[in-house]
Subunit: 134 residues, 4 copies
Amino acid sequence: MIDPRLFSIATGSPEPIYRQLVEQVRRRVLAGQWAAGAGLPSVRELAQALAINPMTVSKAYSLLEAEGLLARQRGIGMVVAEAPGQPPPAAERLALVRPALARVAEQARELGLAPHEVLTLLSELMEDPDEPRP
Amino acid sequence: MIDPRLFSIATGSPEPIYRQLVEQVRRRVLAGQWAAGAGLPSVRELAQALAINPMTVSKAYSLLEAEGLLARQRGIGMVVAEAPGQPPPAAERLALVRPALARVAEQARELGLAPHEVLTLLSELMEDPDEPRP
Amino acid sequence: MIDPRLFSIATGSPEPIYRQLVEQVRRRVLAGQWAAGAGLPSVRELAQALAINPMTVSKAYSLLEAEGLLARQRGIGMVVAEAPGQPPPAAERLALVRPALARVAEQARELGLAPHEVLTLLSELMEDPDEPRP
Amino acid sequence: MIDPRLFSIATGSPEPIYRQLVEQVRRRVLAGQWAAGAGLPSVRELAQALAINPMTVSKAYSLLEAEGLLARQRGIGMVVAEAPGQPPPAAERLALVRPALARVAEQARELGLAPHEVLTLLSELMEDPDEPRP
DNA sequence: GTGGTCTAGACCACA
DNA sequence: GTGGTCTAGACCACG
């Protein structure tokens, strides 16, 4: 079973808890970090580990089930859904960051930044996210 | 007067409309793209152009006035405030997109994307944001 | 605004209330019975009309929004989403009844019924659902 | 002994597994497809063949025994009970699919489908259920 | 044990 | 006014 300690929520964030959970799971499943069929922590267990209400976890799980990323096994719990046949292609995963990237690009243009400035910064951030600011 | 068509809102975005407006104006003023004293569209005019509630525009203008970026001129409307003294250096403007860029970079890494894939996409988006997806 | 009295729930049914609502709305939207942009009853209003908890209505609306059939207009309420470009083709609507039809066909075969017997019955039911049984 | 491969369950269906089993058996016994006295697969064997919990099979068998369709024979297992007297007429068996068929017909009408479209689809499904979708 | 559903009530952000 | 989120607690069906 997937370790409940792999999940985390930022209580101070404006992003709702259930959505933080949804996106954590979605990214890990799409990236293939969890094998198909792997069992997720039960609603009650994860709720206790995160000190939140079980319904909040349940809501996240339900949305992921509707999305087809998780499957319900009755009496067992939630498991990672079988991939529809193919491992997720890079193009599809790339499409997931496109909207956020487009928003940043728009902001950079509004700030009058040159493309190479932004690209250089992104390159650094992709290589080593924890690098101290110059 | 500043053209209302320069403003845009993404209705599908989770970001509130008033904040989208605030940050668009803030970035353009900080980038020096609008001269001090330039007049902004009236609340009613901008609200109609964007098909949103006038109260939403008013809220954005009020926040920008409180921040000192806009000033209210009786009988004229909102104008761009005098620059506080110095034109902002590129490094400082670049720092404004750093958090958003870092967030995207983290998501991309979680998705197992290679840096060059993301950089290529950003490069395209910086050059021509309206380019149709392949 | 769409009349709340158009909605109905069968309290005795094993089908959950929120799902009854989801499917009622889905069929009507897909059949084009409601124009794009038409406003749905507010959560509170529909909840009161049906004498159920507002969260139950909210859950149904949220699922329909995730499915893309409804859209949230902030401060206004839920509206029927714009069709992606085309009115829903008959083939797509037909596909929606395929699983249920396949299940019935399987049952009929298990009962040793001849195809023409079942087809005749369905034909009657399609023409006049309230016809008394022979 | 009745071949365990005659049984099938749809894991994705909202219908509980034990009820899928109960109704499959009930239909086949009523249709006279299995002779009285024919032996059913053992609980363990069927559970393994369907990859489900033995308790689920046991529950289905118990319900069918209570209904009088199956009988428990010591040392042998479950067998098909003696027919209550008369072979069931076709009209009676047809009545068993009527409710499900009426439900599908109602959904099809709500979707604005023409009777002949639905009848054509059902005809295909009755002839060859495993035909690939066009 | 598992998840699902519904209720009741509180608080929040947005328009 | 709108919907969204979270909590708490109850009951149910399934395995």
